[in-house]
C-alpha cells in the first residue's frame, strides 16, 4: 500500500470533479434560480479539499500497484458520492437529510436512477441539470475520464481501468495505450450523447430536457427532470428515440468502437453477446407485449410501444417509465424487474450481471448436462467462435455466488430494519442492478425509505456499479496485510 500516492491521486481526481460544478453554475446564472451561488460554493469547497489532499504529497509519484488501484477506485466512488451530495445540501431546495442527499448523489453516479425527491418539476433548473450531469459522468466512469485526460494517471492506469469498467473480460484494450482506449470510449460516449440529444430535440423536447435526458439515457441512468419520467412528454416519438438509445447504450462500447473504425455494421452481427442481448430483449418484449394485450386496456399500438419501452428500459437497467408499470397484471412487473438481472452487455453503461456473464453461466449449465449423458465428451464453453477458459468460468461463478450472497445478506439487513418483503426485495434488485424503480413502497420513488435502509441501498448500488469484487476485496484481511 502506498497511502501518499493514493492520497495524491484521490486529490487530483477531486480537483477534476470540482470542475463539474461549473456547468450547473452557468445554468443557474442563465435561469437565475439561485443555482449559481450553490454551485460556485460547492466548486470552491471541492477544489480546496482536493488541493489540500495533493498539497503536501505532490512529489509522490510512483507506479500504482494492483491494490492501490482497487483502493483508489473504491475510495473515489465513496468520496465522490459524498462530494456529489454537497450541492444538494448547500442548496435550500430540495430539503433533504444528509442521508437522502448522499443517496441521491450515489444513485446518480452509479447510474441507478432511484430518487428520493418528489416534485422534480418544481426544482431549480440548475439542480435538475446537475443530477443529470452527475449520472452522465458516472455512466462511463469518471476514473476512465480522468485516465483519458490526465497523463499523470497513465502510470498504472490499467489497474484503475480494470477496477472501474464493467464486464467479464476486462483486459481487452481497444488501442495499444490505456489512455487511447479511455479516450476512444469517451469519444463514443460523447457522440452517442450528442446524437441522442439531437434526436430528443427533434422528437419535440425542449433543449434543456433533450440534453438532460440524453445524459441519463446514454448513461443508462434513468433520472428525469419530471416526476412522470418519460411519461411526461406523452409522445410515442420520444419513447421511440429513448428505446433506440437505451438499446445502443446497452451494447458494449468496444463494439461501437470497432464498428466505427471498420465503418461497417458486420461486427455487431458477428458478436455473440450482442446477438444474445438483442434476442433476450426481443423475447422479453414479446412476452410483455402479449401479456399487455391479454390483460390491459391499452390498444394494440400502445401495448406494443409501451411493452417494448418498458422491457428495454428495465432490462438494460435504465429505469425510465411512462406509466405505472408496477400495477400491471400478474407476473409482468416481476418479469420486468428480473430482466434487469441480465442487464446490459459487458463494457456498456448498463448494470446487472451483464449479458456475457449470464451466457457463460447458462452455457456452463448446459455443459454439465451434456457431460452427464456423455461422460467423455470434451465440451468447451464458447462465446461466438472463441473458447472461454475454465478459469474465466470460475470467475463468473464466483461473481455470481458473491452477488447472490450479498443480495441475501442485504435483504436480511433490510428486513431486520422493518422493511416489508416486496419493498426489500425489489429495492435491492433495483439498486444492485443499478436499475432505479422497484415495486411496493419504492415503485415511484424512495422518499419514504428511512435513513438506515438508504445507507444499505447506497452500499448495494456501489456493489453493483463496481461489480462487487472491487469493493469486496477491501474487506479481506489479505488486502491489508503488508
Amino acid at each position: 500500500m502506498q497511502p501518499k500516492v493514493v492520497q495524491r491521486i484521490l486529490g487530483l481526481l477531486l480537483c477534476i470533479f470540482s470542475v463539474t460544478m461549473l456547468p450547473p453554475a452557468v445554468i443557474g446564472y442563465v435561469y437565475q434560480d439561485g443555482g449559481m451561488r450553490t454551485f460556485t460554493l460547492s466548486f470552491f469547497i471541492l477544489l480546496i479539499a482536493g488541493g489540500l489532499m495533493v498539497w503536501r504529497v505532490d512529489h509522490h509519484q510512483a507506479q500504482l500497484k494492483l491494490r492501490d488501484g482497487y483502493l483508489i477506485v473504491v475510495l473515489f466512488w465513496t468520496v465522490l458520492g459524498l462530494a456529489g451530495a454537497v450541492p444538494l445540501m448547500v442548496s435550500e431546495y430540495p430539503e433533504l437529510t444528509v442521508f437522502q442527499a448522499v443517496f441521491e448523489s450515489m444513485s446518480a453516479l452509479t447510474t441507478t436512477g432511484a430518487t428520493v425527491i418528489v416534485g422534480l418539476d418544481y426544482l431549480p433548473k440548475s439542480i435538475l441539470f446537475y443530477r443529470q450531469e452527475l449520472q452522465w459522468l458516472g455512466g462511463m466512469g469518471i476514473v476512465v475520464l480522468a485516465i483519458a485526460i490526465l497523463p499523470a494517471l497513465g502510470i498504472g492506469g490499467m489497474q484503475l481501468f480494470r477496477a472501474e469498467t464493467s464486464g467479464a473480460q476486462k483486459d481487452s484494450k481497444l488501442t495499444p495505450r490505456i489512455a487511447g482506449t479511455a479516450k476512444a470510449l469517451w469519444m463514443i460516449y460523447l457522440s452517442l450523447t450528442i446524437a441522442c440529444a439531437l434526436a430528443y430535440y427533434w422528437a419535440g423536447m425542449s433543449v434543456f430536457d433533450a440534453v438532460g435526458h440524453a445524459f441519463s439515457t446514454v448513461a443508462i441512468g434513468g433520472f428525469s427532470t419530471h416526476d412522470a419520467s418519460i411519461g411526461f412528454f406523452d409522445s410515442r416519438l420520444v419513447e421511440g428515440v429513448a428505446i433506440v438509445f437505451m438499446f445502443l447504450s446497452g451494447v458494449n462500447f468496444g463494439l461501437h468502437f470497432l464498428a466505427w473504425r471498420s465503418r461497417g455494421l458486420s461486427v455487431y452481427r458477428e458478436d455473440a453477446e450482442f446477438r444474445n442481448y438483442a434476442a433476450f430483449l426481443l423475447v422479453v418484449s414479446i412476452l410483455v407485449v402479449v401479456g399487455l394485450l391479454l390483460t390491459s386496456e391499452y390498444g394494440f399500438s400502445d401495448s406494443v410501444i409501451t411493452g417494448i419501452f418498458h422491457t428495454v428500459s428495465l432490462a438494460t437497467t435504465t429505469g425510465f417509465t411512462t406509466t405505472e408499470y408496477y400495477n400491471w397484471a400478474g407476473s409482468l412487473p416481476f418479469i420486468l424487474l428480473c430482466s434487469s438481472f441480465v442487464g446490459g452487455c459487458a463494457g456498456s453503461t448498463g448494470g446487472g450481471l451483464k449479458v456475457v456473464r449470464v451466457m457463460m453461466l447458462m452455457r456452463q449449465g448446459a455443459r454439465e448436462l451434456t457431460r452427464m449423458v456423455h461422460p467423455h465428451a470434451m465440451v468447451v464453453v464458447k462465446l461466438g467462435n472463441k473458447r472461454v477458459s475454465d478459469r474465466q468460468i470460475e470467475v463468473v461463478w464466483g461473481f455470481f455466488s458473491a452477488y447472490v450472497a450479498i443480495f441475501v445478506f442485504f435483504m436480511i439487513v433490510l428486513m431486520t430494519m422493518g422493511v416489508d418483503q416486496v419493498t426489500a426485495f425489489s429495492s435491492l434488485v433495483a439498486c444492485m442492478n443499478n436499475l432505479g424503480p422497484g415495486l411496493g413502497e419504492v415503485a415511484a420513488n424512495y422518499a419514504t425509505v428511512d435513513d438506515g435502509a438508504l445507507v444499505v441501498l447506497c452500499l448495494a448500488m456501489l456493489m453493483g456499479r463496481l461489480e462487487i469484487f472491487t469493493l469486496l476485496v477491501l474487506f479481506t484481511p489479505a488486502f491489508w496485510r503488508k
Binding site: 456423455h374 467423455h376 465428451a377 470434451m378 465440451v379 464458447k382 473458447r387
Partner: protein, 458 residues
C-alpha cells in the same frame, strides 16, 4: 525430364520411385542422411543432404537445369520458400508444392509468379477429406471419383443379391432404366478384372465400377444393391487435419458427428472450432468408449489417426461392435492388401491419393487427371483430345476405330457441358475429355502416347 524432389517422407519417396521407374532423372533433397542413403541404395536416383530451401543446396541438386521441382517436405513454409528460390534464382519452369495448412489455401491470389510462385498446390489432407466426404454422401459406394468438374461420376459398388440387376445381363439395365445413360466400365470378381459387354451377368459380391452423371448415380446404385437410407450418424476416430476437416464439412450438412481424439489440448481446439460435432477425449480403440457412445447406431465409422495399426484395429473393432460402413486410412500399401474385405469396407491411402494428384501434373501431354481404383489395381485417366484428324490418333474417329491398348476402354466422353457415354459410334471432337479405363497399370505410357499429337504429321 530432370526433377528435384524435396523431402524424402512417404510421399516424396513414393513419387521418387514412380518417377525414377519411368526413366526420369530424379534428385532427392532431405536433411536426414541415413534415409537418403537407404533410398539411394534401392532406387536409381541422386540424393543431396541439406535444407531444401537453401539456394546452395538446390544448386548442388542441379536446380540450374531442372525441369520440375516437387516440394514435399513436412513444412509448408519450406515448401513455399523453396519454390520461391527455385523461381527467382534458377527459373525452374514447373513448381509443385505440398501445402497442408488451410490458412494458406484459402487465399488463392497468393500463389502466382508475382507473389509466391507455386504452379500447383497439393494438399493431401484436402484430397483425402474430399474423397471421404463423397463416400459418406453416397452410402454403399466403395469409391467415388469426379470428372469434368463433377458433371460425371465414377462409382464403385459391391453388388448384392437384392439389387434389381444382379443375376441379369448388363443389357437389362437399358430396360430397367430407359431414361438413364450409364456405362459399366469394369467388374471385379474374386479380384480379377472383367471388361464387361452387354451379355456379362452381374453376380452377388462383384465390385462394379460404373460411370453416370451426378444425379443418375444413386438410381443406378439401387440397381446393384438394396436401397440404403442416407447416412446420418458418423463417428470419426482421430482429430488430425483430415478428421477435423471432415467433421467440419459433415456438421455443416447436419450429420450427427462424433469425433474421438486422444490428446487433451487438441480436443479443446477441436471442440472450440466445431459447432455441432461432439468431441470425445479418449482412445479410438477404447471398447467402453465406443459402446458408451452407441457405436452400433453409427452409419459410418472412419479411423483417421496417423497410425496405421491403430486405424485398422479400431476399424475392425467398430465393425464388430455393429457400426455400418467402416473406413480406415491405411498408408502402407502392404497393409491394405492384408485387410480382409469383410472387416473393413473401405481402406484409403492418403499417399496413393496424393501421388495420383502429383502424377497428374507430371504426366506429359493432354492428361487432365489420373485416379487409382481398388488401391492401385486399376487406373482411370481423364485426357483431353487435341489436334485434328491429320495429327491425332483420336480426333475425328469413332470410338470403335481407335486402336486402344490392351485391357483399356473409353468409358465416357465429356463435351462442353454434355456427357456422352462411350458407345461405339461416338465420334471424338477436338477438346473432348475422354475417360479411359485401364485394368493394367503398365499401359499408362501407351495411353499417354495415344493422346499426344504426333509430330510427324506436321
Amino acid at each position: 525430364m530432370k526433377i528435384i524432389i524435396l523431402g524424402a517422407g512417404q510421399v516424396g519417396t513414393a513419387v521418387a520411385r514412380n518417377l525414377a521407374d519411368e526413366g526420369n532423372d530424379v534428385t532427392v533433397i532431405d536433411t536426414n542422411a541415413s534415409v537418403l542413403a537407404e533410398m539411394q541404395s534401392r532406387l536409381d536416383l541422386r540424393a543431396v543432404v541439406g535444407v531444401a530451401s537453401h539456394p546452395a543446396v538446390l544448386r548442388e541438386a542441379g536446380a540450374d537445369d531442372a525441369d520440375m521441382l516437387i516440394a514435399t517436405t513436412s513444412s509448408d513454409e519450406v515448401n513455399m520458400l523453396a519454390c520461391q528460390v527455385a523461381y527467382t534464382i534458377f527459373g525452374t519452369p514447373t513448381k509443385i508444392a505440398r501445402v497442408r495448412s488451410n490458412a494458406y489455401q484459402e487465399v488463392t491470389e497468393l500463389f502466382d509468379n508475382d507473389h509466391i510462385p507455386v504452379d500447383f498446390l497439393i494438399s493431401p489432407e484436402q484430397l483425402v477429406t474430399r474423397h471421404m466426404h463423397r463416400l459418406i454422401e453416397l452410402p454403399g459406394a466403395l469409391q467415388v471419383v469426379d470428372f469434368a468438374s463433377g458433371r460425371l461420376r465414377l462409382i464403385g459398388v459391391t453388388a448384392e443379391a437384392k439389387g434389381a440387376l444382379v443375376g441379369l445381363p448388363l443389357r437389362a439395365l437399358r430396360e430397367h432404366l430407359p431414361d438413364v445413360d450409364c456405362r459399366v466400365a469394369a467388374i471385379y470378381r474374386n479380384d480379377h478384372a472383367i471388361i464387361p459387354n452387354g451379355d456379362t451377368i452381374i453376380e452377388d459380391g462383384d465390385d462394379v465400377f460404373f460411370l453416370a452423371t451426378r444425379p443418375d448415380a444413386t438410381v443406378v446404385m439401387r440397381e446393384m444393391r438394396a436401397a440404403r437410407s442416407p447416412n446420418k450418424h458418423v463417428m470419426i476416430a482421430g482429430g488430425g487435419n483430415i478428421g477435423f476437416e471432415l467433421a467440419k464439412r459433415l456438421e455443416k450438412q447436419h450429420y450427427n458427428v462424433k469425433l474421438i481424439e486422444r490428446y487433451h489440448d487438441r480436443c479443446v481446439l477441436l471442440s472450440t472450432q466445431l459447432t455441432r460435432a461432439m468431441v470425445f477425449e479418449g482412445d479410438a480403440a477404447d471398447h467402453e468408449l465406443l459402446l458408451e457412445e452407441n457405436i452400433e447406431e453409427m452409419d459410418v465409422f472412419c479411423a483417421l489417426t496417423n497410425d496405421d495399426e491403430a486405424n485398422i484395429l479400431s476399424a475392425i473393432m467398430a465393425k464388430r461392435l455393429g457400426a455400418g460402413t467402416v473406413m480406415s486410412l491405411v498408408n502402407r500399401t502392404a497393409y491394405a492388401d492384408l485387410i480382409p474385405s469383410n472387416m473393413i469396407d473401405i481402406a484409403i491411402s492418403p499417399h496413393q491419393v496424393t501421388i495420383g494428384e502429383l502424377l497428374t501434373h507430371i504426366r506429359r501431354g493432354a492428361i487432365a487427371a489420373v485416379h487409382s481404383l481398388r488401391r492401385g489395381g486399376a487406373e482411370v485417366i481423364e485426357a483431353v483430345a487435341k489436334g485434328d484428324k491429320s495429327n491425332s490418333k483420336l480426333v475425328g474417329r469413332r470410338i470403335e476405330e481407335i486402336r486402344l491398348p490392351h485391357n483399356t476402354n473409353i468409358g465416357a466422353v465429356v463435351r462442353g457441358s454434355a456427357v456422352l457415354m462411350g458407345h461405339r459410334d461416338v465420334v471424338i471432337e477436338p477438346e473432348d475429355h475422354l475417360i479411359f479405363f485401364l485394368t493394367d497399370k503398365k499401359r499408362i505410357p501407351e495411353v499417354e502416347r495415344l493422346c499426344q499429337v504426333s509430330a510427324t504429321f506436321i
